[in-house]
Subunit: 458 residues, 2 copies
């Protein structure tokens, strides 16, 4: 540790911002397994994937050997509008806890999308524009990804079609209006605009939709329209790649002040933010240079890492996307109504799954009432109102800092604070009113879904 006084917020200069993303797969001896075509069970080719996704993004998806990939100037220009994001020293939290631990968090919520999602949205929009496309389609559940993509498309003057799960469309009108402010066309799903939507509406009149259905509609729209492609906000390796700006900035900021973290913590839904945060640190571990304790935190209601199976599965509940080898609860698993919408995903990024399987990362699951209690404890001293997703990381960071009080260890803890909770106040209200419950699936329930994993695994 240097003698330099560490400020409350470490901001990098613009010229210290990353000029390349870091592709951690290049440093992995055992790579994540390839995506499979569910029909042929053979690895997906560039040609096959390019029908659905933008070509440059497919190249990034398939590239597991190039360690550094240049960030195009147009994307770096956009990054400069809201990045570098601050690495905050939680002095007030440390004081309140009375812990000898040193706590830092990388705060990705200081942009209108309210989360880290913008880091990949702008990249995906850029490559769509570069390819000469008219627009992109996507789905959104809680709405963070849809918001980020709307902002990115507005910037590059691309048409943006968002299929929003109908119950969210109705319950989160504010999210919908933010997307409309950025010019996106937001359609409640299921809708009459697609074949699959009409079919579902005919079979289940009055349904409020699901993420799986919204994905199916977005993919159908993309492949059936000239000049459109489908984009996805997490899970894929390309998304994790773009999110490495988080980890690279974090590392530069820490290095600038000679700080070496002992523990790095992040919440994990699809895994892109955590993967982005830890990639440069895991790279050091893979190259045998340094060692860190890395902790993924997931909701006890959707415990893909802690209680799932490492197997090939569909990335989507609609079963239209390729098969990916990952820790999964089974793509038919429907998580209970946990308010951390962004963590309600049955599987986990293939890269993170492989790192977890190799023992480079551990995982913990936490119940949501504990998460909201931690969120409130954090908010009251650090000021920031955290998103429920991000608060999973806060919960474990507090746990670790409290352990240090007992042991007297001066551990340095870094966690990712992925976003703000402005659009999650219904959940906070339930928590304040004591109406929030914790649901943990039974072993029997999980076994039921595990039995439906695709046959390729057998």
């Amino acid at each position: 540790m240097s003698d330099k006084k560490i400020p409350y917020k470490i901001y990098l200069e613009e010229d210290e911002m990353p000029k390349q993303w870091y592709n951690v797969r290049a440093d992995m001896k055992k790579k994540p397994e390839p995506l499979l075509n569910p029909a042929t069970l053979k690895p997906m080719t560039l040609e096959e994937l390019s029908k659905v996704f933008c070509e440059d993004l497919v190249k990034q998806e398939l590239d597991d050997t190039t360690p550094y990939i240049d960030i195009p100037d147009e994307i770096r220009e956009f990054y400069r509008m809201y990045r570098p994001s601050p690495l905050v020293r939680a002095y007030c939290l440390e004081k309140k806890l009375g812990t000898p631990a040193k706590i830092y968090y990388k705060f990705e919520g200081n942009n209108t999308s309210g989360s880290h999602k913008l880091n990949s949205a702008i990249a995906q929009a850029y490559y769509a524009k570069k390819q000469g496309l008219k627009g992109v389609t996507t789905e959104t559940g809680a709405g963070q990804w849809g918001t980020a993509l709307s902002m990115a498309c507005s910037y590059f003057d691309l048409d943006c079609n968002v299929y929003m799960v109908k119950c969210s469309y109705e319950q989160k009108p504010f999210r919908r209006e933010v997307m409309r402010t950025y010019g996106a066309k937001v359609t409640p799903s299921p809708s009459e605009t697609t074949e699959i939507g009409r079919k579902i509406l005919a079979e289940h009149p009055g349904t409020t939709g699901s993420l799986g259905c919204a994905i199916s509609e977005a993919v159908e729209t993309a492949v059936s329209r000239e000049g459109y492609r489908y984009v996805l906000g997490s899970v894929l390796s390309q998304v994790l790649l773009h999110q490495t700006v988080i980890g690279l900035e974090t590392k530069t900021a820490l290095d600038k002040y000679d700080i070496k973290p002992d523990i790095i913590i992040g919440c994990a839904g699809g895994g892109s933010n955590l993967g982005g945060l830890i990639s440069p640190f895991v790279g050091e571990m893979l190259r045998g240079e340094k060692n860190y304790q890395i902790i993924a935190v997931e909701p006890a209601s959707c415990p893909s890492l802690t209680r799932g199976t490492y197997a090939y599965d569909f990335c989507d509940t609609g079963k239209v996307c390729p098969l990916q080898k990952m820790y999964t609860l089974g793509c038919d698993f429907i998580p209970s109504a946990n308010h951390a919408g962004g963590l309600r995903y049955h599987g986990m990024s293939g890269v993170l799954s492989e790192l977890y399987d190799q023992g480079l990362m551990e995982a913990r699951s936490v119940v949501q009432t504990d998460v909201f209690a931690a969120a409130e404890e954090f908010a009251r001293v650090e000021g920031i109102l955290p998103a429920p997703e991000s608060s999973h990381a806060i919960k474990v960071a507090l746990d670790e800092a409290k352990k240090c009080i007992e042991t007297g260890e001066e551990k340095t803890i870094v966690f990712g604070l992925t976003g703000t909770g402005y659009f999650d106040m219904f959940a906070y209200e339930k928590f304040h009113d004591g109406e929030m419950s914790d649901y943990i699936p039974t072993d029997e329930e999980l076994a039921k879904y595990r039995d439906t994993l695709p046959k390729v695994n057998k």
Copy 2:
């Protein structure tokens, strides 16, 4: 202009942050008129004011001679959690407009309260704590002030009682929940908890309340309880003083890059943010050192500067606060349902009123559909989703930048972006759906309220 490349966001170092607030009244030859006791029509004394307000704050209120007032360490420590705020060069906006103008904005929305209100809330909470008080009371309309005060009180472990206008309490449940997250007690006003509340409820059963009524309840609670004082989020000179951190940081950032602004623009409701932004620049004008064009922007629906009278009036519609000489529409004036809740105030800060009267500042009024159109234009290229209040300044900044396209002038425009619009999406929705209307009061209407100004003016 120096050759130094100007970054997208100018962040000051922590040691460049202001250590003192700047009291612009000290440099004014003709000072704002003193507050008057409405019963005696004599200037309010320290003793009289200290029954309602914290003593140190009253001293600041009455001090019009000390140019610089130290910011206590405890407050500076809190400031470091969310300040310095960035001064942003709007490169993307300039490019989109094709203007030769150089546009900068000081962004105060990067904190959970979502606005500049926190700058004064933390100061007021600190002095309350220092005085050994148990807690403070206040009212809130749109909710920004209440949120900021909740955060500040939570930090200093003070009891915080917020009277929230009942219709807002019901229509803005998210705002209410943010305050509860920070431990505030939020009471819909009128309530059964005060004498005045019970009286109003008896006379007007089913009323949804008003800001005037909420102020009355907050003041009654403060003066009738041991260890409590009342705090206010705008209008008063002490609030304007605290908000000078905005202008001081802005000036330091501009000076660092040898930038001299030609035009400085801010929205004006009670006037504290604009006053805070312009104080150091006005100081230079008062001392004859430099000259700037300063523009206050107000809603056409509530045009206190552009169509009001410079006269003594009550600061509050409840007529329980002292009389202040200010530009006012009459304290009984009820603005139409303009969604920029923070600008729906019948009067204007006494300091700003005096500066306006001396010709140091001009004022413009704008209609809200134009304001929302400007907000959307801004959001789509600069990313940030602005609050309706702040967007009044954006509208005039865009007007001025567009003028430069015609004239070819390379003017430097600086405006204050006071907050974010996350909690204003109902208003954005109305705008998107074409359901927003503009209301401009008639001369007859304004004359009616002008005739009710207190007799002291005659």
